[in-house]
């Protein structure tokens, strides 16, 4: 593998007495796709927040293409090509679908070029028909698509998706799988997801988080048949 796109070294996050994430060494190459799984409270979202600068790690380092970005502001990390779709759709509710995408696209293009990019993205995420509507009035599933469109409009090299399939219908999940595969042709992705069917459809390699640390990292089929992984998901006693 060439130089890592993103790498964490001994990354840790402590909230008072709680060690939410501890000593995470993680590495992802260019155009790689990785799924993160793990029970609730395993530290996946905290990990994402540290990668995007929303949380400042209490220990360890984050490196983007070998450059340290630990503790950088979220907008600085975003400008280096990291885009994130958050767990609860984070969009501009008071603006229309088109304006949402426009604000993202104008980070990269201006004028007619930006408008063309917005039209292309509306087409790509299937929102052309509802472009003039206010995002706050849309259904949850549609807001998910808006956020995906917004994130992709900034043309990031690394796309972080936090539970992209949550609240979607089966058909929408299939479309999301297609979109993820499409994005992965040119970009790297890290996807947090609970739906193992979904994970199976998109990923080859899976990282399992448990109690704030990486439990294991392996091929999706091996992970799915691992008794240890099944225990942390199902057998609460094993996690105590």
């Amino acid at each position: 593998m060439s130089a890592a796109l993103i790498e964490t070294r001994g990354l840790g996050m402590r909230f008072g007495g709680v060690h939410a994430v501890r000593d995470v060494n993680f590495m992802l190459g260019e155009r790689e796709l990785r799924c993160l799984i793990g029970p609730n409270g395993a530290g996946k979202s905290t990990f994402f927040k540290m990668l995007t600068g929303q949380l400042r790690p209490t220990s360890g380092a984050v490196l983007l293409r070998g450059e340290e970005v630990t503790g950088a502001e979220p907008h600085e990390i975003a400008r280096r090509g990291v885009g994130i779709k958050t767990q609860v759709p984070s969009v501009f509710d008071g603006l229309t679908v088109r304006e949402n995408l426009w604000l993202a696209a104008t980070r990269m293009h201006r004028g007619a070029q930006a408008r063309a990019a917005v039209d292309a993205m509306l087409e790509r995420v299937g929102l052309s028909a509802i472009a003039p509507r206010l995002v706050g009035q849309l259904a949850h599933g549609q807001r998910q698509w808006v956020e995906l469109g917004v994130v992709l409009s900034t043309d990031p090299d690394l796309v972080l998706l936090d539970e992209p399939a949550a609240g979607m219908t089966d058909q929408e999940v299939l479309r999301t799988v297609e979109l993820v595969r499409d994005i992965n042709k040119t970009k790297a992705l890290i996807v947090v997801e609970h739906d193992m069917q979904f994970v199976r459809m998109i990923a080859s390699k899976v990282t399992v988080f448990n109690q704030g640390a990486i439990l294991t990292e392996d091929d999706v089929e091996i992970i799915m048949h691992s008794p240890v992984v099944r225990d942390i998901y199902l057998g609460k006693r094993a996690a105590v």
């Binding site: 907008h75 994130i84 984070s90 980070r107 509802i130 003039p132």
Partner: protein, 355 residues
Amino acid sequence: MNARARNILGLALVAVVGIAVLVLTPRLFDLDVVLNLTVYMIMAVLALSLALVWGFGGILCFGQSAFFGLGAYAYAIAMFNIGESTAPLLLAILVPAAFAALLGYFMFYGRISDVYLGVITLTVTLILFNSINSTAGPEFHIGSARLGGFNGIPGIPSLNMPFFKDWQIDLEGMFYLSTASLILTYFGLRALLASHFGRTIVGIRENEQRAQLLGYDPRFYKLATFTIGAALAGYAGCLFANWGSFVSPTIFGLAQSAQIIIWVIIGGRGTLIGPILGCVGIQWLTAALGANAPSGTAGWQALLGNVPLILGAILVAFVLLVPKGLVPTIADLGAALGRPRTRALVGRTQEAAPR
């Protein structure tokens, strides 16, 4: 009618009404009415400054009067020292802007939360009030300008044509200048809000986290908005100092700060025309209640004569019953009238949307 056509129609309407007021008022009304309208126009510029900062920028500033007052005092002090109004006018804009930039830098880059932002801005204006209030003695002067403390500064020389000291602006000229300033401010802010910068600050108001994750630095955009608002308030302060040839510390007071917020609440956040209407309406009401001795029993007279009480009641009624403010509520009503048609449209687009 689509949004773009409505937008252009609205702009045209404002332009026509604005120019009609500008041209016709001095021809139709006596000088005392024109004088009263002048101060309405000046205050409306001040209302627009908070409409930008709070209504669009989402920054709850309780101390917009601080910048208004700084502008007025900067003009007055510079005028006594310089005597020609070009530099004092610029100072009236630059001093509040610089002060806001400094204050804003610590607030926004220090990640002060919204509530404390309100507290800090309110405190700042009260500090200015108390400081200026206690400068009555002759030892308090800047150059040849005496600060005057609670007595204020009377006899401020009026504006002149830039660089022509003897070409002074008379009372009617002040009306033209103030009204033209209001119209230009309105259209200037419309242009600003239509620009990438303007749309970004609205995006930050809507969802600061998302804006940040897209690569926009909210601290910078908020600071810029805050500073522009202060510059505008300072300019309004300069006009105000001209209008009465007088400034006093009450300009920094609690009543003045609260008034600006009431104008914006009543007119409607997120609009520009709303705060103008709110400002003119409230000022007209205040003047009318003060001028006409109400008839009726003594109790009734005492009630109607109590202007702050009536204004307070109006504010409470608006916050409880019309929380969005006048203009957005009227717009909603207009939209509700056309609802059957809208509903059919929504149904169709939802069918067309991919699942």
